[in-house]
């Protein structure tokens, strides 16, 4: 039933997320210097990518492979793997288009890393997962649709 609570939470969350964010700042917590507050609090994909990459226009690329389930029985834990053969990958971001705050995570690489990132994300409902990659200053993207089963018992 955790999933149900999560869903309720996501529906009600837009205003609350802002409130929570403001509360955190007010209580004087030290936010990590490199945590992109604007990008993570953005309410739609365009403003999130603008805040994270300085641009909301990205070309589609065939060289970004997203491994995610076609259908997720549990929206609270959706495994996502990203692999890319693009040159000089500086960063990658994973967004869930229909989440209240789409940007789930971003990784900045330095040196020896290759274009690979795996994580698990929460999904409120069926949505596209978007992956943005900064390849040598050029922003490219790819997407994959993941169905979230409402009944939670598989399709």
């Amino acid at each position: 039933m955790k999933r149900r609570t999560f869903l309720k939470g996501t529906v009600a969350s837009s205003a609350l997320a802002v409130a929570a964010g403001a509360g955190l700042l007010r209580s004087g917590q030290v936010l990590a210097a490199d945590w992109a507050t604007d990008a993570f609090n953005a309410k739609d994909v365009a403003s999130a990518s603008k805040a994270a990459f300085g641009s909301d226009g990205a070309a589609d690329s065939q060289d970004i492979k997203i491994k995610a389930p076609l259908q997720a029985e549990n929206g609270a834990v959706v495994p996502v793997k990203v692999e890319s053969t693009l040159a000089d990958i500086k960063s990658m971001a994973i967004m869930v288009a229909k989440n209240p705050t789409p940007l789930a995570t971003k990784v900045d690489f330095s040196g020896a890393s290759v274009g690979y990132y795996s994580t698990r994300v929460k999904m409120g409902k069926t949505s596209d997962i978007l992956v943005y990659v900064n390849s040598g200053g050029k922003i490219l993207k790819a997407s994959a649709m993941v169905k979230v089963t409402v009944g939670g018992c598989g399709g």
Binding site: A17, Q29, S110, G111, A112, Y117
Partner: protein, 102 residues
Amino acid sequence: MATKIKARQKGDATEILVLVQHPMETGSRKDKKTKKEIPAHFIQTLNFTVAGKSVADVSMGTGVSKNPLVGIRVKGAKSGDKISVSWKDNKGETGGAESAIK
């Protein structure tokens, strides 16, 4: 909160996997009994190093699942190289782990 790190060879790259036990609360969930909002509590940054050098800086929002499992791959890492990870959440709590590539 426990943090685990391990590395395994994947072709010519080394995959580093990290599992952190963390609630990753969004701040918009309510406690079923008290009806009170559960405050946001989530990891914001997580840094990987190999042989003392930073290789990846991960930042996360509330959209990452509870108990994050994060993997990256690096090239040129040798057996015996030290690998480490450290994280910090929105409440200022920190954690980390280190190991060596087998």
